[in-house]
Subunit: 346 residues, 2 copies
């Protein structure tokens, strides 16, 4: 574990800067005195695009490589055509830095409102593939804009890509008390990709006799996420299904104000990137209404990734205590950040 962190910060759009500044506050508060934190802000996102037409120039992509990790707030604004920043910046980073593990823990914290009746115990983690599937940008359109248009999107899945994420998920399941791993796909319809996923899953399962496994079609998985979320421990799934399931998972565990994520390259060849699952929420930007907890929990994932396990656990405990103690009266973005910074320092 390095005693210094050279962090790239992409605050981004909307509520991004607000939540990131609280995330950094907590990060500074939790780090040991002798650990050095350097941060460098990268001006990327909607404003930059409006100003220069650039989303992620090569020079900045190159510069980002020198960092130990990236903390990202949120990207996107209604003034930018859909897809421009997503494909040109967010996904470009995930692909360029080979973030093949998109890690998204879901936990129903104490004292947290869930839209579900009863009080289900929810504590699972989704290991979403991050560099393949329908996200590769491998599509096109013919006779665009005419009545004869054909538009295609190709989901690309490789044994290489599937096996590495499946292995990661098995290792995570093995390390958890319940040791349970669910593969989610749609192999009764997407038979080629589905069989690759299922065969790979079954092959790796043989190496993990202690991990109990099952398979669910993605449509059935959404049912269980609302009727029986406690059945899940670790889920491994493709890029698009993971996108859908983790938003749903965030909804049932109290909202995307609490959902953290890490875009991880476990090899360390490139910096991993940590970001809340939520978007830029331009409607509430600049009003101090955004909940920075998702970003702060993403900071915990960042700490764990860099080897600061104790500090990561401290941040997560602080969030748990903070949510348990809260009385429901509204707090500003900054108040939540201050409270958590105080808890991790204390």
């Amino acid at each position: 574990m390095s005693r210094s962190i050279n962090l790239a910060v992409i605050s981004g759009d909307g509520i991004g800067p607000e939540v990131v500044s609280q995330g950094l506050k907590v990060l500074r508060a939790v780090l040991p005195q002798d650990a050095k934190l350097e941060t460098k802000e990268y001006d990327l996102g909607a404003q930059r695009w409006h100003r220069t037409g650039e989303t992620l120039p090569d020079a900045e992509l190159e510069a980002l490589k020198s960092h130990d990790a990236i903390l990202l707030g949120a990207i996107g604004d209604p003034s930018v055509p859909s897809g421009v920043l997503e494909r040109g910046l967010l996904l470009k980073l995930r692909f360029a830095f080979d973030h093949f593990i998109n890690l998204r823990p879901s936990r129903l914290f104490p004292n947290t409102r869930t839209p579900l009746a009863g009080n289900p115990e929810i504590d699972f983690v989704v290991v979403r593939e991050g560099t393949e599937g329908p996200y590769t940008g491998n599509g096109g359109s013919l006779r665009t804009g005419t009545p004869a248009e054909v538009a295609t999107e190709v989901s690309v899945n490789t044994a290489y890509g599937v096996e590495r994420v499946v292995r990661d998920a098995f290792a995570r399941a093995q390390a958890r008390p319940r040791k349970k791993l669910t593969l989610v796909h749609k192999n009764n319809v997407l038979v080629y990709a589905g069989h690759l996923w299922k065969n790979t899953f079954d092959k790796v399962a043989a190496e993990y006799p202690e991990v109990s496994t099952d398979y669910l079609h993605v449509d059935a998985a959404t049912i269980f996420l609302v009727t029986q979320p406690e059945r899940f421990d670790v889920i491994v799934t493709d890029n698009l299904f993971g996108d859908i399931l983790t938003d749903l998972a965030a909804a049932v565990t109290g909202g995307i104000g609490l959902a953290a994520s890490g875009n991880i390259n476990p090899s360390g060849a490139f910096p991993s990137m940590f970001e809340p699952v939520h978007g830029s929420a331009p409607d509430i930007a600049g009003q101090g209404k955004a909940d920075p907890t998702a970003t702060i929990l993403s900071v915990a994932l960042l700490l764990r990734h860099l080897g600061y396990e104790t500090e990561a656990a401290r941040v997560e405990e602080a969030v748990t205590t903070d949510l348990t103690a809260r009385d429901g009266s509204p707090r500003t973005t900054e108040e939540i950040g201050d409270a958590l910074a105080a808890r991790v320092a204390g």
Copy 2:
């Protein structure tokens, strides 16, 4: 409206035969005395496949064309490799008969347990595209089974296919009191297909000034389905997103025991096919535990499609009354069918 119905019946696997026989009972009970119902059972599904290796031979596909409609129970069994019956029978029918409207109403009936807290008012309909998207079987696998395997799945979307389903959805929204239509896609990632959908949607919207419209990414749509399901009136979406959203919708409205669907070709060139959203549930097959209500509500959609609007409404009212009156004690498949048959006849 024809005073005779020449119905093809595919009872299929698992609980299929049980629920279909109750569906037919209610259909017979609700039809006017002078209407003639002829049914012909087609032996298709897992048993047939085990016996003969056939899923849907040309002769039977041809014979099915002569019917006014098809009532299908459920297809699938764990003893058959995943995809064989789905692609070879169910999807083959949807594609061969050009069922481009996959109609899936979602309503929270009175006195029905929902996993959601509170008592949200849910009454929307999903118009799912049925003949394109990632369901075309347009994929493949290279170097199968080796560490260098590449498996692809191609989502195919045409202006022709998208426009006809979008037009249908606008017409349905226009005919409903709230007149609201939501397009669900993922146009920030699947930019080619997404833009075709969005541009088509916006173009047709101009012809329906009374219909209010909005757009949601599929991930966000799953959030709203559990936190604010009352916001939806009509949803139009692609084949795969529709598959996922309608299972989730079924879950929040009390389970797939109540979710009906119609695979509709509005032109009448081919018979439309009506089926419950649920599967064959082999674990409870033959025990009289299956709820036939989803099939009976599918019969209502069938009646409406064939012009029996009064009878369709009578079935739906009977279901509403029956669910309102139920006291929670378990009833067998047949008891539910008998109760509903008595109500529609009475």
